[in-house]
Symmetry: C2
């Protein structure tokens, strides 16, 4: 199956996870090694007129989930993907429209994930996402996702 | 200042953090030792027809934030409250309307928090929240919140 376009990923998220639509989540780029999502300030604003921490967690979760989703599309057997653990550090406030980037360009990490999934029918992968400059991020997120193959 | 009613807390969250309104967050109970929030399935549904993990993180964050907010209302000096770290474990799917309970009934933990806030102008507290039965929860959340006193 070919890689989804940004429009296709965004439409999938909006229709299956309506919170993403309410938050104005946009897909900015999609590849097998990186997914970048973005969201505007207004629907995600908090009492300090910065981005609500909960919204940052949601968009980071969706960016990582999407990168697993995109990679699993290459397999012939379909799987469910669920988050099992999330950890988020808020280092600095985010004041405006923001991008969340989830990168995983280590082929061995994907290879291990696919191998275990094919052998055991389920596998886990931990992915990181950041908001802001990767070397000086505002937010660092780490999420563990389980894929469960359909029988 | 007196404790806010459930309606007052809910109205505050909906007006200052609009994501909480989009998610249908409701305040179920408010006391200095426990805040219980709830949210329906429909606006928080995911691709598996269960509650989206990101929504569970948002409502857990809001429950803990609200318990800090309620406790700080007792002080004469006002403070900002921001989340600095969150950790969430998803143990089982949540299939319907859900409640998130944040409990902190250890007086010494609040005492330490207030003392440091008064002395240094800022202090941190870590609070836990759960979804489901406390002894057998579906979701466990731990959040660290910083209070910064207005000068």
């Amino acid at each position: 199956m070919s890689l989804p376009s940004c429009d296709a990923l965004e439409a999938y998220l909006h229709s299956h996870i309506p919170v993403s639509k309410a938050m104005g989540v946009m897909a900015q780029s999609v590849s097998p090694t990186e997914v970048v999502l973005a969201a505007p300030l207004d629907p995600n604003i908090n009492h300090k007129s910065t981005v609500f921490g909960g919204s940052l967690g949601v968009v980071a979760t969706l960016a990582c989930w999407s990168l697993v989703y995109v990679n699993l599309m290459e397999l012939t057997q379909s799987s469910d993907i669920v988050i099992t653990h999330g950890d988020i550090s808020y280092l600095r406030p985010v004041n405006d429209v923001f991008e969340v980037s989830c990168v995983c360009d280590d082929p061995s990490q994907w290879e291990r994930f696919f191998t275990i999934l094919k052998r055991k029918g389920r596998a886990r992968i931990t992915l990181d996402a950041t908001v802001g400059e990767p070397k000086d991020p505002c937010v660092i997120f780490s999420g563990t996702f389980a894929a469960i193959a359909h029988r």
